[in-house]
């Protein structure tokens, strides 16, 4: 091939490669989330109460312990599961009993769930039970929220803040 033609061919090659790189670096577009919907993220990490409540050690039991490990109370490690419910406008959209984490079952229960909802005025009810107390949930939150399209509302739980929080 003649030299000018080779140069032209090389130019075309480099232009084509650059075009290919530029093209697929941003095209085709990806519709990750419908623009006319909103999202609720229910996420929490919460350690439930222990399966066995802590109890006071007797003087004999304390005496049997190595001197460096003597303490007045003993607590079993294992925790209870956490039961969580979320209702949107009265519809139960999430209802799970989550086991505690960790090999010994002594870690927090973890929940991370994304829910797609219609935007607009919504009534949210979130409930959590982290004890073996019979009957009602230990925590409950009721809230009226106004969700805009593409809004992401986080429903979190912080025991130190008194229960569920919207973020």
């Amino acid at each position: 091939m003649r030299e000018p033609l080779r140069w032209a061919g090389q130019t075309v090659f480099f232009v084509a490669i650059a075009a290919m790189v530029g093209l697929f670096a941003s095209w085709p577009s990806y519709r990750q989330f419908p623009e006319d919907q909103a999202q609720i993220k229910l996420s929490l990490s919460h350690g439930a109460q222990r399966v066995e409540a802590c109890r006071r050690l007797s003087a004999e039991e304390i005496a049997k312990l190595p001197p460096a490990e003597r303490r007045p109370n003993t607590c079993a490690r294992e925790r209870l599961p956490v039961h969580v419910q979320l209702l949107v406008d009265g519809d139960l959209v999430f209802d799970e009993v989550v086991a505690p984490g960790g090999l010994a079952g002594d870690g927090p229960a973890r929940i991370y769930r994304k829910l797609i909802v219609e935007p607009g005025q919504r009534e949210l009810v979130a409930r959590l039970k982290d004890s073996d107390r019979p009957g009602a949930f230990d925590y409950e939150m009721r809230a009226e929220v106004s969700l805009a399209p593409q809004q992401s509302l986080a429903v979190d739980f912080r025991a130190d803040a008194g229960g569920f929080v919207l973020r």
Binding site: R6, A18, A25, Q32, G101, S152, R167
Partner: protein, 520 residues
């Protein structure tokens, strides 16, 4: 497995041949994929250092600092940002092509397992580096990348607290997390560089830099792309809103929609399976290992030409062990030798004229010895018809298939041929011309077979072709696997030229006994 490789090999051969029409052989991008990867790495490093000067790692400042670079200082920092991104994309392209090409050429098994295995973590780290880079911009795309990545990581039972909770709401994110990401974005490429160095440990004279012309072309094309289509952010990240439509970089993020929508156990299982398959490939199945080169100390004078020519650093010169008065002897490392025979081609004792003693060179291939090669040359040469000028063709098993080609002698690699064989063929009247063929130029399967052959013929590398050999009776054509028609045409043209060439001076000495006997 070879059936699976063959179509891809054919594609690469075709593409290489097509590019060979517009690029000089040494510039062919497909034979410079690894070197181009290095080149892109250096562009990424240089542009990254510049961009880092202006980058603010604060969660609320990161996006603004990138916007400043892109719009206020578009002529330098903006261009650097675009170069950083597009060179990263280019790196992915050449890296994947490099992987596929080496696989299609079956250059990943046997002694090459080491480079392949080291290449696998490099592949993973390049992606990790790229993804952390997208994260740092902290635009809507970064938000998507961060959330999908952490949600995917959370599928593993390692984290006490879901990592994705860091992106739960605008008040959840801390600048400390960005500091971690910038650390990763710098540390991971540095680890990659170390692995790249290890990747090249088992080959000699690795081609780290592409030819200058190819470098200039690649750089200018990236620069032009950066100016015409600069990399832009996609609006500031806002964890209170879900990004709707995004412009993904499909080179790095092409699998993210799958990570997002497929179950975690499936995607993690698929990723782990793919990784295990990649790591196990050199042994699926293992390469039948040919007998490695063998040193014959009685004929080795320690000249070190074999060690200098070995493309795989498989030969070391060590102290003499047999008491002969030479300073060193060649020692073959069987774990590195691929039995290409280039060492035998470099040995000054691989001299076919030798008759007083058995033809045993200082180093030789047990499965295709120099002595067996001489016998084959004599057999093939004697069988050539005399109705036209006779051309004896030396080829290799990775170039044009020589089956059925009259007057062809196959070598492990064309570099296995000691130049004295050419002299031998012509002076013993086995042919009027000698044609050497093999892989495509600059694409030698054994890396240096073509280069050393050309240098030996040109007299610039030992062992040299003797001056007495008429150069018009020696030709080369580096045709590659698909070059059968080119080779046939070259042979025909050579024959035509030989018909009108000056007669070949014949030595006065009689032919060796067994040749004379068979001629009779």
């Amino acid at each position: 497995m070879d059936h699976a490789r063959r179509p891809l090999r054919w594609l690469f051969d075709r593409a290489e041949a097509a590019l060979g029409t517009i690029f000089p052989p040494a510039w062919n991008p497909l034979v410079n994929l690894g070197a181009l990867g290095f080149f892109f790495y250096w562009i990424i490093t240089a542009s990254g250092i510049y961009v880092y000067i202006f980058f603010d790692t604060g969660v609320h400042q990161a996006f603004d600092s990138v916007e400043y670079m892109t719009h206020e200082q578009w002529y330098l920092a903006g261009v650097m940002r675009s170069l950083h991104r597009y060179a990263s994309d280019g790196l992915v392209v050449v890296m994947l092509l490099h992987l596929l090409r080496e696989w299609s050429l079956d250059r990943y098994r046997g002694v090459r397992w080491f480079s392949w295995i080291i290449g696998v973590p490099i592949l993973v780290l390049v992606y990790v580096a790229g993804i952390t880079g997208y994260w740092l911009v902290w635009d809507r795309l970064a938000q998507y990348v961060a959330i999908v990545s952490t949600e995917w990581l959370d599928q593993l039972p390692f984290f006490a607290e879901p990592v994705a909770r860091n992106f739960l709401a605008p008040d959840a994110l801390e600048s400390r997390f960005f500091t971690l990401m910038i650390f990763m974005h710098i540390a991971v490429p540095l680890i990659t560089l170390v692995l790249l160095w290890v990747h090249l440990q088992r080959i000699t004279k690795p081609r780290i830099n592409p030819p200058r012309g190819l470098m200039v072309g690649a750089f200018l094309s990236l620069l032009a792309l950066s100016l015409v289509h600069p990399a832009l952010s996609q609006g500031p990240a806002d964890l209170a809103r879900v990004p709707g439509t995004l412009q993904l970089d499909w080179f790095y993020l092409g699998l993210y929609p799958l990570l997002e929508h497929l179950p975690g156990p499936l995607t993690w299982g698929a990723a782990a399976t793919l990784l295990i398959i990649l790591l196990a490939m050199p042994w699926l199945p293992p390469l039948r290992k040919p007998a490695v080169a063998r040193v014959d100390l009685g004929n080795c004078n320690g000249c070190a030409r074999c060690a200098a020519d070995c493309p795989y650093a498989a030969i070391a010169m060590v102290g003499r062990s047999d008491g002969l008065p030479f300073s060193a002897e060649a020692q073959v490392d069987p774990s590195l030798c691929v039995a290409c025979g280039i060492c035998a081609g470099a040995c000054p004792t691989a001299m076919p004229f030798r008759r007083a003693s058995a033809l045993v060179p200082g180093i030789d291939l047990p499965e295709l010895t120099i002595a067996a090669l001489r016998e084959e040359v004599e057999r093939v040469g004697r069988a050539l018809p005399r109705d036209a000028p006779r051309v004896l063709v030396f080829g290799c098993r990775h170039g044009v298939p020589l089956d059925g080609l009259r007057g062809a002698v196959a070598l492990a690699c064309t570099g296995q041929l000691p130049p004295s064989f050419i002299d031998y063929v012509l002076s013993k009247d086995l042919a009027e011309g000698v044609l050497l063929t093999g892989c495509r130029e600059a694409a030698c399967y054994n890396r240096f077979g073509i280069d050393w052959t050309k240098a030996r013929l040109a007299g610039s590398r030992d062992p040299q072709l003797r001056r007495r050999v008429p150069r018009e009776r020696v030709r080369t054509i580096w045709a590659g696997r698909l070059g059968a028609a080119r080779l046939a045409a070259a042979v025909a043209e050579f024959q035509r030229d030989l018909a009108t060439a000056a007669p070949l001076p014949r030595p006065a000495a009689p032919a060796p006994h067994h040749l004379a006997a068979s001629d009779a």
